[in-house]
């Protein structure tokens, strides 16, 4: 019984199996290129599972690996990366959000949320308010730094400011908020249905300046008919020279199409449309964020560093031993025996 178990372990620990696993992993990586939706995650999970089992068995039974500190450290690093990456996929959270200047973060407004089955984060407890933001552009619309000004609770009832953008995310409760290139304008509108109470909301126009040529959107008010909006913006943008996108400096005329009516609204204008009255209250701007949560990030980094340090150590001592052997060899002129070292 024990003998059979041992044989099984030896087979599972075989470095020939490692090669099979590696080839399968390469195939899986090739199939995963570009994250196609049709490719199952199993093309990666299967070879990684096989390699992990193989490696685990080797660490247990192969003295060639478990008696050599550096090599052992390297392979444990590899195994840890696989385990951590798997944990990461089980606990991750990803979403997008578009925040208006002055708007508080509300998890109910996230777009396309995706999460692992074990995700237990506390997005509900994340609290901050989006302030203004600026994006610098060079000539020919070359995007430079993004600066987004946020207000965060300071823990003693007040607020503190934090500036994020590009490579610097906002990190709260483990959630990382990255500014994206996706941002634009949003007219703030009030709608007073005939005989009803007014409601105020915003219409997010397409990303700017990416869709500078089509700043339009539509909305159907409750009890009314569809209204089409077109925003004619003045942001100071020119192709030729550097420019800063700053919602506070921008203004825009809102062109409203409802049925046969076509009207141009300046800030503060109010018009009567079928089913109610529409008022153009303000011009605001929104900024898109990518939200990312993965509690394993730090550990993955440590595991990877542990791995390379182990590998470096292994080769250091191996090459040292080989050069010592080589100098001995050259001292006594025997035949060469440098195979597979």
């Amino acid at each position: 019984m024990m003998g059979r178990l041992h044989r099984c372990g030896r087979m599972l620990a075989s470095t020939r199996l490692t090669l099979v696993g590696m080839v399968l992993l390469a195939v899986g990586a090739g199939l995963s290129y570009g994250n196609p939706v049709t490719t199952s995650v199993w093309v990666l999970v299967t070879p990684l599972g096989l390699l992990s089992l193989n490696l685990f068995a080797a660490i247990l039974v192969q003295p060639r690996i478990n008696r050599r500190g550096g090599l052992l450290m390297f392979h444990i690093g590899l195994l840890s990366i696989v385990v951590l990456a798997a944990l990461g996929r089980l606990t991750y959270y990803e979403a997008h959000i578009e925040l208006l200047s002055g708007e508080s973060f509300d998890p109910a407004n996230v777009i396309e949320p995706r999460q692992g089955p074990w995700h237990m984060g506390e997005l509900d407890e994340v609290e901050f308010v989006q302030g203004p933001y600026t994006v610098e552009y060079g000539s020919a619309l070359k995007r430079g730094p993004t600066r987004s000004y946020l207000a965060l609770p300071d823990g003693s009832g007040g607020w503190r400011e934090e500036v994020v953008g590009d490579d610097t995310p906002l990190v709260l409760k483990g959630y990382r908020f990255y500014t994206s290139f996706n941002k634009g304008f949003a007219p703030i509108l009030s709608w007073t249905p005939t005989g009803g109470v007014p409601v105020t909301g915003s219409v997010h126009m397409p990303a700017y300046p990416l869709f500078e040529y089509k700043q339009d959107n539509s909305w159907t008010p409750p009890g009314g008919s569809e209204i089409k909006f077109w925003l004619r913006l003045d942001t100071g943008y020119t192709e030729e020279s550097a420019w800063v996108l700053d919602g506070r400096q921008a203004s825009g005329v809102l062109i409203v199409n409802s049925g046969e009516q076509r009207l141009e609204l300046q800030l503060g204008d109010e018009v009567a449309l079928a089913g109610g009255r529409l008022r153009y209250e303000a011009l605001n701007s929104w900024l898109g964020y990518k939200i990312f949560y993965d509690p394993t990030l730090k550990w993955l980094f440590f595991a990877a560093i542990l791995g390379v340090v182990g590998l470096a150590r292994h080769y250091w001592s191996k090459f040292d031993a080989l050069s010592a052997a080589a100098s001995l060899d050259s001292a006594s002129p025997t035949t060469e025996k440098v195979v597979n070292r």
């Binding site: 075989s14 470095t15 020939r16 490692t18 090669l19 590696m22 080839v23 992993l25 390469a26 990586a29 090739g30 995963s32 290129y33 570009g34 994250n35 060079g138 070359k142 995007r143 430079g144 730094p145 993004t146 953008g165 590009d166 490579d167 610097t168 995310p169 990382r176 990255y178 290139f181 990518k290 990312f292 990030l297 993955l300 980094f301 990877a304 560093i305 791995g307 390379v308 590998l311 470096a312 080769y315 090459f319 080989l322 060469e336 440098v338 195979v339 597979n340 070292r341």
Partner: protein
Amino acid sequence: MSEATELPWLWAGLSAYAVATILAFRGVVILAKTSAISPPVRSNERLLLLLLVSGVLLLAMALGVRWERLGHGPFINLYELLASQLFSLGLIFALVYWRVPALRTSAVVVMPLIWLLGSWVLMLEPSDSHFPPTYNNNWLWVHVGFGKVFLSFCLVAAGLAGIILLRGVPGLGRWFAHMSDAALDQMAWRFMMLALVFDSLMLIAGAVWAQDAWGRYWQWDALETSAFMTWLSIGAGIHARLSYKIPVRVGALVILAIFGLAFVTYFGTPYFSEAAHKGVV
């Protein structure tokens, strides 16, 4: 259009590399005649090293002039990537050439491989590039730095693998008679092992940077997929040697294949993915 003021430096650097390449061939011809490391061989090697170092310095000037003009390093378009690799491959090969005399004949393979990049860069428009905001990150340096060492060690291994194969060509054996196949094989794989260490470091730094810049550490974009395959193929090559008695020539072919994969990762992916990484917009 650009005013590529660095071009004269680039041409000068490449000219130095060109002469170094001729000297590499001259070296093996002398070696074949004298059949030992003789004084003429040594002086040829010294001259070659001098030219290589001059080429490296001239290319450093080319990169510096461009850097000064554009205000950012050579990290963005293919022209810049090729030019900076020409510099770093030359630099690291010069160091190895100086410190490890036994592999000097491999210059007859290494220099033509460097020329693949050299002739390519001459065909490209040296257009100005834009530095994306996400590149303002210290990990860029770590990532690029380790990547350069990795590719250079891969190149050295490929040079040695090339010699192993050339020795088998009738008539050329005399050029490389100073070392045995086994010793060449061992040295080539040692450089591959070192390459694996630096490749791993490059991948780690790249993942940290990607997390900062694009909010994800790994996404199987063209470059990441290709880079992972390269890393895995080195691991597989090393493991195959451990598990099977692989003939030296087959091992040499494996090394050249790995170098080919690394080459495609660095210089091929910009062709089928519009920016070096997909996240760059």
